[in-house]
């Protein structure tokens, strides 16, 4: 399999021919993610179109800039590049929750940040990804078990995201 192109069944094992044929049209490429380093960031990723993800944004409406990566901002990881550091800069940080208690934990985390920096990204967008726009990987941190990286495919557009809710924090 070409490591730059994944169809939506990646990471889900074998599917039957009918399903594979039906899904073949949603093929994603990740040339932008692959560029500039030697690591395969898409490895171990899955396409998650059912979970709700949260991300702090600066306006009450989602825009493409809200999905800009560290790498696209011109930042590069310090020190010797590793897969984790490079891929962290190539992905977008999002928090995933599937239950109300997970949502509460994520919100509690956000609200502590808001108390210190109330004017920084003062809205919370709750989103779902549409098929064929990118892949996610669970990348928990010591202070955020819900943390995921989202890797945009080359054709990613903000219209690929379903905005469920935007709430002022």
């Amino acid at each position: 399999m070409d490591d730059l192109a994944y169809n939506k069944t990646a990471g889900q094992g074998h599917k039957n021919d009918v399903q594979a044929e039906a899904e073949a049209d949603i093929k994603m490429t990740f040339t932008n993610i692959r560029e500039g380093h030697e690591f395969n960031c898409i490895e171990e990723c899955t396409e998650d179109t059912s979970s709700i993800f949260a991300r702090r944004i600066d306006k009450d409406k989602l825009k493409l800039k809200d999905f800009r990566t560290y790498w696209e901002s011109g930042k590069r990881p310090p020190g010797t590049p590793t897969k984790d550091s490079i891929c962290g800069y190539k992905g977008i940080s999002i928090s995933r929750y599937q239950t109300s208690s997970e949502r509460s934990a994520v919100m509690a985390n956000f609200m502590q940040q808001v108390a210190l920096s109330p004017a920084y990204r003062k809205f919370l967008a709750e989103i779902q990804f549409k098929p064929g726009c990118g892949m996610t990987k669970h990348t928990p941190t010591t202070n955020d078990a819900s943390h995921h990286d989202f890797y945009k495919c080359d054709s990613f557009d903000v219209n690929n995201v379903t905005c469920i809710n935007v709430t002022p924090l």
Binding site: D58, G74, Q113, S117, A119, Y120, T142, N143
Partner: protein, 438 residues
């Protein structure tokens, strides 16, 4: 006398972090809280304020505030006693730093809180976020005031402090015994050139199963919160709160109880009776035993206070608070009395149980000796205990002498006496069944 011009001079670079830069939290896009020191060795706290607006600003930037902190401000903020808003109100000025998207500084200005639009003011609850700092098993104690300010100390006092603080930290682990965790506190060599005492907690799984159920991270957080309670909250608590018979509580004690209760449940701790009462009593006991270790600290003359910090996973020195030399006296009447601590702690098996022991010392005349208990991890702890054997006039050619001579673990029925849940002595009756393990 010459005249001094009344102009405002701020040394160039006073706002900039030049050493010890540590990011405490990055939200995935930006460093949102960080700490470091400027070229004058002042602490600087950096907090994100916002980003440029595509529609209003010509260039793209991220805006931060840099706040100069005195060592006391630093301790107050990171030990959760003061908010960022209060810090700014106490500061005559602070700095606004704009950075380009790749993190390089593009401008800096000096401001006061009143210069900021109200929407940029930190909120009334702007405490240091707990998620920004993950407790570790490393603690550091620095001495301040008196001789310590000259980097001196009397050797006998230093030795006393080292031992007292080590026991003080160690006793906080007592309430974790039902979780199956026992621990030791080691002194660790300090960094070259520093006048600090360092301690490391090493956890052991007493029944070799429970750590599987109890995340070490939760244990370290709990120990840190317990120490913070002792240092900061206990002096403010009502007298009588820690009494085992008191049903009074406080918000700070409730938080600790909630954390410990969760660990007890996760680990399936063997609790008799009401779980919440047990949890609270174990915390109260642990606090009292821990603080008792500080008795006598008021007699030291070479310093005025001790500052205790946790060295977090990202090597940040997170202050928990300071212990003045009169601390023990100020809280002594709130502790469970030594008499209550001892008299309520001793428990004995109601009927003989099978124990695995390895005898290491034994008198065939008196039937007394010492043994290592729990070689096979069947019961509670792998520790040295006393054994008392009764029922004969001589104890030669018994399973106990066989264990001693052949270095063999034996499984024998006896009655254990526990102090604070820890087996201290096992008594055996040789009339009872005694089986040598093959």
């Amino acid at each position: 006398m010459f005249e001094i011009k009344k102009h405002k001079i701020i040394s160039p670079g006073i706002h900039a972090i030049t050493s010890g830069f540590k990011v405490l939290f990055n939200d995935g896009d930006n460093d949102t809280i960080y700490i470091g020191k400027n070229k004058f060795d002042n602490f600087i706290l950096g907090v994100i304020m916002g980003e440029s607006d595509d529609e209003e600003d010509e260039i793209e930037f991220v805006r931060y505030m840099h706040v100069l902190l005195t060592p006391r401000d630093y301790m107050s903020f990171f030990s959760g006693r003061i908010t960022l808003l209060e810090l700014l109100r106490l500061s005559d000025f602070f700095f606004i730093i704009d950075k380009n998207p790749s993190g390089e500084e593009i401008s800096s200005d000096i401001v006061t809180l009143e210069d900021l639009p109200a929407e940029y003011w930190p909120r009334a609850n702007s405490y240091c976020p707990d998620f920004a700092i993950q407790a570790s098993n490393l603690y550091c104690v620095s001495l301040h005031g008196g001789l310590a300010n000259d980097h001196l100390s009397l050797p006998e006092e230093m030795s006393l402090i080292n031992s007292k603080i080590s026991n003080f930290i160690s006793k906080t682990l007592g309430s974790l015994t039902p979780v199956g965790v026992i621990g030791r506190v080691y002194s660790q060599a300090p960094l070259a050139g520093s006048f600090k005492l360092n301690y490391r907690i090493e956890l052991q799984d007493s029944n070799r199963l429970s750590l599987f159920y109890t995340d070490e991270k939760n244990i370290y957080n709990y120990v840190q919160n317990l120490l913070r309670y002792i240092i900061i909250d206990l002096p403010k608590e009502a007298t009588g709160l820690l009494s085992p018979t008191s049903s009074d509580t406080s918000p700070a004690l409730e938080r600790l109880s909630g954390d410990l209760e969760k660990m007890y449940i996760e680990a399936g701790a063997p609790i008799k009776g009401n779980l919440q009462t047990n949890v609270k009593n174990n915390i109260k006991r642990s606090i009292s035993e821990s603080v008792e270790q500080l008795s006598g600290i008021e007699s030291v003359m070479s310093f005025d206070d001790l500052r205790i910090s946790n060295i977090t996973d990202n090597q940040f020195e997170q202050p928990l608070g300071e212990l003045k030399t009169d601390y023990y006296d100020s809280v002594h009447d709130k502790l469970i009395s030594e008499h209550d601590l001892k008299s309520t702690l001793i428990e004995q098996d109601l009927k003989p149980r099978l124990y695995n022991i390895l005898v290491i010392n034994f008198s065939i005349d008196t039937g007394t000796g010492r043994a290592i208990f729990n070689i096979d991890g069947i019961d509670n702890q792998a520790i040295k205990i006393r054994i008392n054997v009764a029922g004969r006039t001589s104890y030669e050619n018994t399973p106990f002498t066989e264990s001693l001579h052949k270095k063999k673990v034996i499984s024998v029925e006896g009655i254990a006496t526990r102090h604070n849940g820890i087996v201290k002595t096992i008594s055996f009756q040789l009339d009872a069944k005694a089986l040598v393990v093959e």
